[in-house]
Amino acid sequence: MDKFDTLTGIAAPMPLINIDTDMIIPKQFLKTIKRSGLGVNLFDEMRYDDDGNEIPGFVLNQDAYRKAEILVAGDNFGCGSSREHAPWAIKDFGIRCVIAPSFADIFFNNCFKNGILPIALPQAQVDVLMKDAEKGANARMTIDLDNQTITTSEGEVFAFEVDPFKKHCLMNGLDDIGLTMEKAEAIATFETAAQQSRPWV
C-alpha cells in the first residue's frame, strides 16, 4: 500500500450531503476484475452527459480542480454500498484525502486499506475548508498526518483525530494481512477452543 505522510495539494469543494457510492462509481464500472483504471469514471453520472461529454459545471471538470488531490464534502460521505471500487476510483483519479463532517463506516474503513486518508471534522471547520477549496488551484491545503493537522491556504491550522493503529499502517504503508499473519498462533488457538465450545460452526 502507498504510504501517506504529508500532502500539499488542490482541494475540490463538493458541498453536497449524502454523496453515496453509486454517485462515486456507478454500478456499470463494478464489472472489472481489476483495481486500477477507475479514475476516469469517478463521479461518472455527475461528470459526463449521456453522450460521454464533460459537464462543464461539475467541479472536477473545471481546470482549477482537474489535478485535485483533496476532496472537501458534506455529511455522510460514502454512504451506501460496500464497493471498494469507490476508494479505488478516488485514488486512481489522484485524490488521497477526503474531508467531511462524517463518513459512512464501510467506506471510511475501505479508504485506509488503499492509502487514502478520510478526515472527519466538525461542520463549522469543514465550512471554512470548503470556502478555502472554493478559491481554486492557487489555494493549496496541506495535510500533515504525523502531526494530525490541516493547514489552509491562509495558514489557518485545524487538528484532526485519527485512530492510532490506522495512522501507523497508513504512514508506513503496511499490509493488514501481513500484520494479522503475525498473530497466526492466536487465531489457531482461538479456532481450536471454538471447535470445542461451538463444534457446529
Binding site: P15, I17, D22, T180, A186
Partner: protein
C-alpha cells in the same frame, strides 16, 4: 458479571486477539462471497501464494450480474459480466469453497441463500463483500458488509480487524396496523434517525412489533440497518428463529443441535445492559410509507404530500431540492398522484416467499395497469419453486407480471434489468440513490404489498384502499 447486550455477547465470543488500543481480531464463522467484490481478493491471494484459511466456512454464489430472464442457460451476453461470473466459477473451484453456480436451483441472492441453506445461524459472525450482509442479523448473528481488501483478509486469515461499535436499541412497541409491514418499520426507523444516525453503532431491534414478525420480516428490517448508517442490525433469536433453522441443510443435527440450542438461548440483551442510544417507535403509529427523494431517509406516509426544500434546514435543504429536481416532483402534490412506469418486486430486502405472498394477495384476480412494466424476481431458485408450488406464480403471470429467475436484478441494475432515463419505478429494493436502477431512473421504495398496489393503479397507492 456485568450485564451485556446481545452484540457484546457475540463480540466477546469471537475475539481471537485484542491489542491494548482496543483493535481486535474478530474470528469470522461464515464468509459469503459473490462475483462483484471478490475477484480482486482472490487475485491478491494468488499473487501472495496464500490459500483460503477456512474453505469450509466460505460460501460463494453469483447474484449481481446474472440475467434473470428465462433463457439465461444460454449464457451472459455482456462480456464483462460473463467474465466476472466465470472468475467466481474458477475461484470457487481453485480454492475449494462451497459454491452454488447459476445452473443450481439453490442459486439466488447471497443474503437469501445463506439463511435458506442453514449457513447463517444464531450467534455467528457473518461477513460478505456487500453492505446488505446486515440481513443475517435477523438470526441474532453479527453480520456486516466489508470491502474487497477485507474480503481478502478474511479469506487469508478467517478474521477481521475491528474495533467495537457502540450499542443502539431500536424498540418498536405494540402492534402494527393492517397494511403495515416490516419494510414500513425499517423505512420509518431510517426516516427517524436519518441515513447517518446509525453510523458507528450496531443496532438491536426489539419490542413486540419485532417479536411478532416472521423470520422473513425480520430479515427485511435488518437488511436496511446499513441504510440507517449502522454496519449491523440484530434481533435476538427466539423460538421462531430456532424453528426456521431446524432441518436446514447446514444447520447442526442431533446432539450438536441440542448443544447449539442451549447456547443460542443465552443470546439476548440483559435487562440492565448499557445502551449508547435508544430509539422507540410505536408500532401503531407506523403507516405504509414510500420514499419521495434520492436517499432512504426521504420517507413519508403514503397519505402525505411531496415536501419542498424549505421544509428542511442546513445541507438537507439543498439536497432536497436536488432530489426533487432529479425525481421530477412538485412540492405539495399528493404522493398518491405520482404516476409510475415500472414495478420491481424482489431484492435481498423483499425477495423472500412471504414478500411474494403479500404481493399475490393484492394481485389475485386483478390486472396490472395498461402499459406498465412489472416484474417479480424471486430471491432464490428455491423461493421461485415454492412460489410456483403455492400457485403464486400463476397469480403474477395472470396479472401481467414477468416471472423471472433469481438474482439481484433491478435493485442495482448490473444486469440488463434497468430503468431508462426518466422512468419511474415502484421498487421493493433498498436504495433510491440517483442512477441506482439505471442512469436517470427514479426509484420509490416501498413494501411488496404497496408495490403490488401501485402496479394495479399505475400510481403510488395506499394499499389499505385495496384491502
Amino acid at each position: 458479571m456485568s450485564p451485556k447486550t446481545l452484540y457484546d455477547k457475540i463480540w466477546d465470543a469471537h475475539v481471537a486477539h485484542a491489542a491494548d488500543d482496543g483493535t481486535c481480531l474478530l474470528y469470522i464463522d461464515r464468509h459469503l462471497v459473490h462475483e462483484v467484490t471478490s475477484p480482486q481478493a482472490f487475485e491478491g491471494l494468488r499473487m501472495s501464494g496464500r490459500p483460503v484459511r477456512a474453505p469450509e466456512k466460505t460460501i460463494a454464489v453469483p447474484d449481481h450480474n446474472v440475467p434473470t430472464t428465462l433463457d439465461r442457460a444460454k449464457g451472459i451476453d455482456n462480456e464483462e459480466s460473463r467474465i466476472q461470473v466465470e472468475a467466481l466459477d474458477k475461484n470457487a473451484k481453485d480454492f475449494g469453497i462451497h459454491y452454488y453456480p447459476v445452473s443450481d436451483v439453490r442459486q439466488g441472492i447471497v443474503h437469501i441463500v445463506g439463511p435458506e441453506q442453514g449457513w447463517t445461524l444464531p450467534g455467528m459472525t457473518v461477513v460478505c463483500g456487500d453492505s446488505h450482509t446486515a440481513t443475517h442479523g435477523a438470526f441474532g448473528a453479527l453480520a456486516h458488509g466489508i470491502g474487497t481488501s477485507e474480503v481478502e483478509h478474511v479469506l487469508a486469515t478467517q478474521t477481521l480487524i475491528q474495533k467495537k461499535s457502540k450499542n443502539m436499541k431500536v424498540e418498536i412497541t405494540g402492534k402494527l396496523r393492517p397494511g403495515v409491514t416490516a419494510k414500513d418499520i425499517t423505512l420509518s426507523v431510517i426516516g427517524e434517525t436519518g441515513t447517518a444516525g446509525g453510523t458507528g453503532y450496531v443496532i438491536e431491534y426489539c419490542g413486540e412489533a419485532i417479536r411478532d414478525l416472521s423470520m422473513e420480516g425480520r430479515m427485511t428490517v435488518c437488511n436496511m440497518a446499513i441504510e440507517g448508517g449502522a454496519r449491523a442490525g440484530l434481533i435476538a433469536p427466539d423460538e421462531k428463529t430456532f424453528e426456521y433453522c431446524m432441518g436446514r441443510p447446514h444447520a447442526p443435527k442431533g446432539a450438536q443441535w441440542e448443544a447449539a440450542l442451549a447456547w443460542w438461548k443465552t443470546l439476548y440483551s440483559d435487562d440492565d445492559a448499557h445502551w449508547d442510544k435508544v430509539i422507540t417507535l410505536k408500532g401503531e403509529d407506523i403507516a405504509p410509507v414510500v420514499t419521495w427523494g434520492t436517499s432512504p431517509e426521504d420517507v413519508l406516509p403514503i397519505t402525505a404530500k411531496v415536501p419542498s426544500a424549505s421544509d428542511f434546514t442546513g445541507g438537507k435543504s439543498g439536497a432536497a431540492q436536488r432530489a426533487l429536481d432529479y425525481m421530477g416532483l412538485t412540492p405539495g402534490m399528493a404522493l398518491t398522484d405520482v404516476e409510475i412506469d415500472t414495478v420491481f418486486i424482489g431484492s435481498c430486502t423483499n425477495g423472500r416467499i412471504e414478500d411474494l405472498r403479500a404481493a399475490a394477495e393484492i394481485l389475485k384476480g386483478k390486472k396490472v395497469k395498461d402499459g406498465l412494466r412489472a416484474m417479480i424476481v424471486p430471491g432464490s431458485g428455491l423461493v421461485r419453486a415454492q412460489a410456483e408450488e403455492e400457485g403464486l406464480a400463476d397469480i403474477f403471470k395472470d396479472a401481467g407480471f414477468e416471472w423471472r429467475l433469481a438474482g439481484c436484478s433491478m435493485c442495482l441494475a448490473m444486469n440488463p434489468d434497468q430503468l431508462a432515463p426518466g422512468e419511474r419505478c415502484a421498487a421493493t429494493s433498498n436504495r433510491n440513490f440517483e442512477g441506482r436502477q439505471g442512469r436517470g431512473g427514479r426509484t420509490h421504495l416501498m413494501s411488496p404489498a404497496m408495490a403490488a398496489a401501485a402496479a394495479l393503479t399505475g400510481k403510488l397507492t395506499d394499499v389499505r384502499d385495496l384491502m
